[in-house]
Amino acid sequence: MNPKLRASLAESKKEYLKKVGQSPVQDLDFTTVSGEPVEILYTPDDIADIDYMEDIGLPGEYPYTRGIHANMYRGKHWTMRLFAGFGSAKDTNERFHYLLRGGQTGLSVAFDLPTLYGYDSDHGRAVGEVGKCGVAIDSMRDMEVLFDGIDLGEITTSMTINGPAIIVLALYAANAEKRGIALEKLAGTTQNDILKEYIAQKSFIFPPEPSMRLVTDSMEFCTQHMPLWNTISISGYHIREAGSTAVQELAFTLADGFAYVEAGIKAGLDVDEFAPRLSFFFNSHLDFFEEICKFRAARRIWARHMKERYGAKKPRSWLLRFHTQTAGVSLTAQQPENNIVRTAFQGLAGVLGGTQSLHTNSMDETLGLPTEKAARIALRTQQLIAHETGVSNTIDPLAGSYFIEAQTRKMEQQAEEYFRRIKELGGVVQAVEDGFFAREIGKAAYDYQKAVEQKRKIVVGVNDFKEGNEEDEIAILRVDDQVEVDQVASLERLREMRDNGAVQAKLQDLEAAATAGHNVLPHLLDCATAYATEGEMTQVFKKIFGEYKEPAYF
């Protein structure tokens, strides 16, 4: 900014703020959904110290604030990937085919809770939960059904699995091998982000240290044998859903990312070998601009730390590639059709933020799992954004906005402040054990709830505009209890039909490898191929690693 403009702006802005300070304002909280204050107006002086080439630059160039690809959506739209899974493998396979026919371009598997915790469907802890909030997978047999008629050499598959991620990856990969598809052709993602399980999602099984070892085993194996596989999807989504603010989501997620990088380096891996396969997963919440700034800040922070702090040399290692899901927690059970609109705004923010793939929530997700129709509307929402709104014609169209750039920088600075605090606490794992994240997130969640109850924040249909709440009824998907009965019966048949001698031998090999500190993934592949169950493989690890128990506080 030239000195003349600076002086004239300073004078005018002072006058303006004085004038506007005297005008009446509505009795509302002018903060983001995270409670961050926002100024009434942003002007060139708010970004005077931002250096365009240094801080923003061009798309596809360091520090990637404007996007990771030079051509962004002109090259290819984001992957439209709806998270799906319910009932049996057959039920979910049908949903996959339905979505693919509708123009979806990638798969994303939702597993049921027993699968997420490494319990077979016939385990006592699985009673009542089989197939309820995702698909029930016990062995490679279920994987065969789940992906029947889908070319695993062509499609990319994302699997939301963490505690037993390495086991489920083995089930997936073994099934592909059995079908004659080479491991190096498999493309997709295992979420495999165990740190955020302790922080927010809570589907952990083993304590942090052995869990991190399983993560580094999968990083090492995939680097060598599955070069197209994203080994970890470092996730802020669940942190945000648990109640964090946007800045906390940004900071805690990237702090987890740095912890994986450090673990990989400590395990003797070359950062440029594994970093290109790390990917991210963020929430796209209600506050439109805050979300866009968060995505932009995330790219810049990651690039800077990877290059400057960890010495990564390959530009691929500097790229923060991310999947986005709209905010489930923002959906309301009241007037559920309004959720279509909320989701559209949030999906748009993800696209303006430069996401690589997107899940748009279905309107009925506060009531149950998506019906076919609700899922179709969610997919159509993305197609509308891609093909009708015109927003993907030009890259990062909000760049240069005084507000967007000032806010992007502010979020970067706030995240850096959290990194310092986490470091002072002794790192991510220590901070988990101290309950730091749980306290921060719990407080933010309760603060938001109070803001809604005091009507400082308006939620349409919940604390205002309630007319019509009674009349809106939409269809709900129900998972029949028969799914559990059938799944248990089919598991029983599997245990009878397979070569149990071979299963036991492979499980013993797995135990020996796990105890000796060898990479367990090749042994898991052998177990999977012999039709060992997820629960049996998990049990081997439980015997050696023990189980994690979270301290209960609120």
Binding site: L113, P114, L116, Y117, Y119, R125, V127, G128, E129, K132, C133, Q201, K202, S203, E241, A242, G243, V329, T332, A333, Q334, T366, L367, G368, L369, G442, A445, Y446, Q449, E453, V459, G461, V462, N463, I476, V479, D481, E550, P551, A552, Y553, F554
Partner: protein
């Protein structure tokens, strides 16, 4: 001087969504109640044990995993057989209206769905004990 109402907030089953349970626990405490939070992954047996041991006045469950029919039923039955027949069982989570009716028929006193104002829960629990001073009076 009467003792505060004592509420057990429990997370049954494998569901890890604890935001709601913790928000409610905070709200009940701010509403003057004594709150025991079980933490995650409780079996019906563990919930009964905690309820008996802590001698609570109300048991509340938070379930967002779709397993509510099975879990509420098992906890209610266990409470009935375990000497807590008179202790109300309430809850919340992702529970369709149709199931709320069935749960009430099974002996669940109240179900609070998404969007509930926490003050409504506080009021509901207070009302349960109003006029029942014999239970709360010291």
């Amino acid at each position: 001087m009467s003792k505060p109402i004592k509420v057990l907030v429990a997370k049954p089953g494998l569901d890890g969504h604890d935001r709601g349970a913790k928000v409610v626990a905070n709200a009940l405490r701010d509403g003057g109640m004594e709150v025991i939070y079980t933490g995650l992954h409780q079996t019906p047996e563990m919930i009964l044990e905690a309820a008996v041991q802590e001698d609570v006045d109300v048991v509340s469950l938070s379930i967002l995993s779709g397993a509510h029919m099975s879990l509420f039923q098992r906890v209610r039955k266990m409470m009935d057989e375990g000497g807590l027949k008179d202790v109300p069982l309430i809850g919340g989570g992702i529970i369709p209206d149709e199931d709320v009716k069935k749960l009430k028929a099974l002996g669940v006193s109240a179900v609070f769905g998404p969007g509930t104002d926490t003050r409504e829960i506080v009021r509901y629990i207070r009302d349960l004990f109003e006029g029942n001073q014999s239970k709360k009076a010291d």
